[in-house]
Amino acid sequence: MNAHPYAFLALFGAVAVAFPLILLAVARLWFRFFQPPKPSLDKGAVYECGIAPSGDSWIQFKAHYYLYAILFLIFDVEVLFLLPFAVAFTTLPGGALVAMLVFLLLLAEGLVWAWHRGHLEWK
C-alpha cells in the first residue's frame, strides 16, 4: 500500500458513512415504489407502551447526568496526557517519572474531591 495509512483511515470513514446511507436509500426506494403506504394514526404516534401518550415528550430529567459529563471532560483531558507519557516512558529520566506521578496525584485528587463533595453518588 503506497498511500498514507491515515488517508486510508479517512477514506474508510467516508465509505463507512456512505454504506449505511446507500442501504437506507435502497430501503426508502423500495418503500416508495413497491409498498403501498398504509399510514395510520397509531403508527405515527409516540410509543408509550401501547397506551395513549400523556403530556409533552420534553420531560424533565436529572441534572446529575451533566455533572458526570463535566467530570468526564476534566478527567478525559488528563487521561489524554497520560498516553504520550506511556509511549515515551522508558526513555524518560527519573525526574519525568516523578513529575508524571505528581500529575497522576492531581488526577486522583480531583477524583477524591468529587467523591468527597458527593458528586459521584447517584441520588
Binding site: 474508510f12 437506507l24 404516534a45 410509543y47 420531560i59 498516553l83 527519573g94 506521578l101 477524583l111
Partner: protein
Amino acid sequence: MFDFFFQLHPVIQGLAKGLAVIMVIFPLAGACSLAERKVSAWMQGRPGPNRAIVPWIAWIPLLGVFLQKLGVFHLMSDGGKLLFKEEPVPGHVNKFYFILAPALAIMPAFTTVTVVPFGAYFDAAGAAIPLVLADVDIGLLAVFAVSSLGIYSLILAGWASNSKYPFLGGVRASAQLISYELAMTMSVIPVFLWINAPGQPGTMSLAKAVEFQSLPGFWGGSWFILLMPLSALIFLISLFAETNRHPFDMAESESDLVGGFHTEYGAFKWSLFFVAEYSHMIIGSGVFVLLFLGGWNPLPWVPLSTAAQLLGVAGLPLVVGVLSIVIFLAKVVAMVFFFMWVRWTVPRFRYDQIMKLGWQKLLPLSIANLLFYAIAIAVIQK
C-alpha cells in the same frame, strides 16, 4: 495472481478493501445476532430458531435438516424482512437526525476495523508482518478516538425521536459510556508502558502489543492477561459497558425503557443499530484478544512462529497467514460467546450501581493499577 490489484489507483484499492471489510463485518454481525438467539435458547433449554429453510436446500437429505435445525436461514430471512418491510418515519420525530443517527452508529464500528490487525505472516528474514488495513502508529488511540464517536448516534437517536423512553435511554447511555471510557483508557496504559522498550520509537500499535507477547523467554512469551490481570479485568468490564451489553445495557433496558434509544425505530434503521452493536462487540473482542490474549499466538509461551515450525509450514507465508487469521478469529469468537454467556447469566445492574462501579470502583482501581505498573516497570528497567 493479484498483481493487477496493486496496479490500481490507491483510492480504488482503498475502496475495494473497504467494501471487502464491510462484506465481512456485516454478515458476521448478522451471524452474531443469530448466534445470540441460538445460544440463549440452548442456555434456557429451548430449541431456538429452527424453522426457516430455502426450498432446494431442504431436498438435501441430512445436511438440509441439520442446517434448518441450526437456524442459519433465519439470518437471511431476518435480513430480507428488515430491508423490505414498510419503513414508516413517525410524524413526531426530527427527520434529519432521526435518519442520520443509525448511519452514524455504523460509522465508528466499521472504521475502527481498519486499524485492528487480524493476522500476521513471516517474511524471508523471519520478521512478523501484521495483516492490517491501515498500519498506523497510534493504533489503539485511533480505536478509542473513533469508537467513542458512537456515543453521538445514541444521543442523536434519543433526542431526535421526540419521545420519552428514547430520550431517557439516550441520556443514560451517554453518561454510562463516558464514565467507562476513562477506566478503559487508563487500564490499557500499563500495556504500552511495558511494550515501549528503550531505544525504539514509541508506538501504540496493536500489532506491536502482539509482537511483545510472542517473544522468547518466560516474561516475553506470557500473555498480558497473565502479566496484568487487573488491567485485563478492568478493560473487560469497561468493554461490556462501552458496547452497551448486558449487564450494562442501560441504553435499552427493555424492562423499564421499552427499547431505550431505539424505541421509535423500525425496519432497516433499527437493524443498523443492531449491526453496529454487534460490530462493536466483535471489534472490542478483537482489541481485547490483541492486547491481553496474545493475538494470533496459539498458546501462552507458544508463539505463532513456533507453531508454524511444529506444523512444518514456516516457509509458506500464505499458510502461516491463514493460520494466524484462523487462530485470531477463533479467539474472537470465543470472546463473543463469553459476551453472550454473561448476558444470559447475570442480571442487569441498576443505574446507580453502574455509576458507582464506574466512578468509585473501576476508576480508582485503574489509577492505582497504573501507578503500580509505572513504578514497577521503572524499577525493573533502571
